[in-house]
């Protein structure tokens, strides 16, 4: 219990430091002024979401190989946490776009790909609600999770290759190209803080899932007797 509280406090401190860095250490952007600082939340969340989905992918592989339900628990927990971070990306995107361009949504490559990513993992969660038996549910969702993650680079690749040819407002800019070194450092630090948050949320969700699984087993045995 104490470890959890300590961990939570550490994460909060990290996040606070990252927020401070985003506002006071990172330099001002010449073109966009203050608003560009959303980048540190937006992009760090995107990278963290992908990290969570990657963890889910590994857990899915491990389940198919080992058939231990704790890998299923990790798989669904990581997928949900990844979905949370991806939701933040999709929400902060329009909030960033609107003052800069006057429109809420742009079909820019990254935002569109993120939306498809979001849909893929929503489908993953929906699939789970439609299979009753725990082992079958674990296997089927693990397999879909594997296919979904293999699809991710193809989604991003195809949309980036062909959907960025059309003239459209470059809202986010290219965070990789021509990024000031200080900005990059603040961004990386924000990402580390987000990874801390991801670990915290993942741990909480995983514990819940494991507990639920054990509860289900005992409940079924009690009903059977």
């Amino acid at each position: 219990m104490k470890k959890n509280v300590l961990g939570a406090i550490a994460v909060v401190l990290l996040l606070g430091a990252a927020a401070y860095a985003s506002f006071f250490i990172a330099p001002t952007d010449a073109k966009q002024g203050l608003i560009y600082r959303i980048l540190y939340l937006h992009v760090a969340s995107a990278w963290t979401g992908l990290t969570a989905f990657f963890i889910s992918f590994l857990a899915n592989l491990l389940y198919v190989w080992r058939r231990q339900l704790r890998w299923d628990a990790l798989g669904v927990s990581a997928a949900e946490v990844g979905l949370v971070f991806t939701t933040v990306v999709l929400v902060t995107g329009p909030i960033w776009a609107h003052p800069v361009w006057g429109i809420w949504w742009t079909w820019d490559a990254r935002l569109t790909s993120t939306f498809v990513l979001w849909l893929l993992y929503v489908a993953y969660l929906l699939l789970r609600t439609l299979v009753e038996e725990p082992d079958r549910r674990a296997l089927l969702s693990a397999l879909f999770g594997i296919f979904a993650f293999l699809d991710v680079p193809l989604v991003f690749g195809s949309i980036r290759w062909w959907r960025t040819q059309h003239p459209q407002p470059v809202v986010m800019g290219e965070p990789g190209s021509g990024l000031d070194p200080t900005m990059l450092r603040v961004l990386l630090f924000s990402w580390v803080a987000m990874l801390g948050l991801m670990t915290l949320l993942l741990w909480q969700r995983y514990r819940l899932e494991v507990m639920r699984g054990e509860f289900e087993i005992v409940r079924r045995e009690a009903e059977a007797s």
Partner: protein
Amino acid sequence: MSLLSNTTVLLGKELRTEFRSRELLTTTVVFILIVIVLFSFTFEPTAEESRRFGSGLLWLAFLFAASLMLQSCFVREQNNDTLSALRLSVADPFAIFLAKLAANTLFLLLTELLLLPIFAVMYNVPVLPVLHWLVLVFFLGSLGISVAGTALSAISAQARMRELLLPLLLLPLLTPILVASTEVTAALFDRSPYVQWKGIGFLVVFDLVFLTALWLFGEYLLEE
């Protein structure tokens, strides 16, 4: 070589089953036709717009049709309880998938080619000069749709609400196919048509990735 012979035998079974009644083919053709006509009500199909939007609409129609057509793929086996018999008859479960996806690709390709002249007439798009390239992109796109669709069909057949679930799982997964195929097809419908090799390459990569995934994990999809 046993994989190849098993697959051929099973493929023969799939084709014979379908051509006996041809119900899947006819309903799919009619469905795509309806979609094409309905789409025409949503915008003014002048020549320019048709060229630009035509390929997108065509592939959307193919995707929707495929997600309906692929429903029966494994449900059919469930209804007649033939899946365990199938599994016992082959050493490698991948043969079952290969046969089904080959059949599905064939059915899809057939319906697409049947509809191409109708689409060309209705939307005034010249297809004859680029026909062989169109067949290539239709084949690669349909292969991708079938590989993913057959795998996901095996998954959704074991869940509730499978009619709604399959499109839900399949359509987001197939966005790369939609993007790439639309682009290649649009380039072929253009005033001065050209072959987008980047797109063709991408489709090949997609097909290979999912074929490999199906080969690696197919047996688990068929577990009892």
